[in-house]
């Protein structure tokens, strides 16, 4: 296996891993908030979270490109004050992936929290436990399978993302060139053998991940309800 293949694959999985970890940290409080709130702004927040599901990736990529560009106000601000450039950089890809994969993390967590009986939370409160203790010791352990599903789908979805990555990251080897871009690139250059190497690797890894999730979830469900 040549070096550029390994470099591209490791970049792809590093991007997916970092995105998943950050989204897990963001998704738990956001999913909890959406499952509990009665605020009139809930539909607005839900719409923003769900937008990436239906929006063409190139649309999202286009606006992110404009926002991150050093010629725009936000991009210029970042460049001047923090020396951060988000277009055509790995950091930019991470931020774009977080926005793009947000619904895949938040939805399973939100429905996991919603499915728990309200009395679990209330019982913990009447036993004198704070909201944080309640979420950490009572609620989260009981939505383990939702957390696993959310993380894996987010991870897999980030691995497979194409449009946003192409718009905002381009195709810089070792910096923004991920596997899905590489496949496109190799096909364009008629290197079908290399393209197949990427494609088949992704195929096998995705299959293995999903098989693992369904296997683990089944045994989790079994231990909860037997």
């Amino acid at each position: 296996m040549d070096e550029s293949f390994i470099q591209t694959m490791s970049l792809t999985f590093r991007l997916a891993f970092i995105t998943t970890v950050i989204l897990l940290i963001v998704g738990i409080p956001l999913g909890y908030y959406l499952s509990q709130t009665k605020s009139k702004f809930k539909p607005v927040i839900e719409t923003f979270v769900s937008m990436p599901l239906v929006l063409p990736p190139s649309v999202l990529g286009f606006y992110l490109l404009l926002a991150f560009s050093p010629k725009g106000a936000f991009g210029e601000f970042l460049q001047e004050n923090f020396d951060i450039r988000l277009v055509f950089s790995f950091e930019g890809l991470v931020i774009a992936s977080i926005i793009f994969s947000l619904p895949f993390m938040v939805h399973p967590i939100q429905s996991g929290f919603s499915a728990l009986s309200k009395s679990l939370k209330e019982a913990s409160y009447t036993l004198g436990k704070s909201r944080f203790e309640t979420i950490w010791f009572v609620l989260l352990p009981n939505i383990k399978s939702s957390l696993l599903t959310a993380s894996v789908i987010t991870f897999a979805h980030t691995v497979g993302e194409f449009g946003v990555v192409l718009m905002i990251g381009g195709n810089i080897a070792g910096e923004t060139k991920v596997a899905s871009i590489a496949i496109y690139d190799e096909v364009e250059s008629l290197n079908y053998a290399v393209a197949n190497q990427y494609a088949f690797t992704l195929f096998i890894i995705t299959f293995a991940i999903l098989l693992f999730v369904y296997g683990v979830n089944k045994s989790m469900v079994r231990s909860e309800f037997k």
């Binding site: 009395s119 004198g128 009572v138």
Partner: protein
Amino acid sequence: MIKINIKKNLNTADGVIILSVNKEIKKGDFLTLFGKSGSGKTTLLRIIAGLETPDSGEIIFDDEVWFDGSKKINLPPQKRGVGFVFQDYALFPNMSVRQNLEFALKNKNESKKVDEILEIMEITNLSSMMPHNLSGGQKQRVAVARSLMSNPKMLLLDEPLSALDHVMRAKLQDELLAVHKRFNITSILVSHDIGEVFKLSNRVFKISLGEITNDGTPTQVFANQNLSSKFKLTAEVLSIKKSDILYIIELLSHNEIIKVTATKKDIENIREGDSVLVSSKAFNPIFTKI
């Protein structure tokens, strides 16, 4: 003693009703909130626990202000120190029976207390089991045990026996009464079972559409005091059958089926499924030595 003087608008199936309560409850009382579903009895219990907020008024426990609408004081449930037993028991599915009780401890070093409560509730043998492996009656015992862990000032019970069969119910009613006496606690029970009310409580609020319409001992609330009868018992009407000029009524009282006769006039307002108070004068009893 707890002073409750609150108002809250409730959206129910019958439209908006106003829950309006102004009462005092003495320490050591076993009070039942009795009424149809949608009357506001569970909401009142949840308001006392701090799980719901009244629109206005005040709740004062001894000298501690739990709620004061005008001063914007609303003590959260964590600080009220009440034990609450939920209708679905709300045992934490990820914790064993023992861990459920330990979670309720304020100080993690008091594991002796867990053993003690497990013993009192006779559930020591269940301590390593997970909640989903317990029967309804066992879950109920664990839920009561857990609510007692933090020495609550009051025990609030939201129809804890409604999902159980008659035999289990009678047994757990005895246990609740034993717990109430042993811990010398103030208990408030939500129930719509008249038998349960008579067996457990020394005071009843009969609630209808958000208003307390009767307040007194179970006999005062449910029985006509002017009745000079010698026997009284509460029962559920199982069947009413016509037999010549009389009616034969089958009644269920404390798991026993009783057959009595009645005239048409006696049963004018009574239907199958109703709860009734049956009384009789002292004539013609038959004695059988057992």
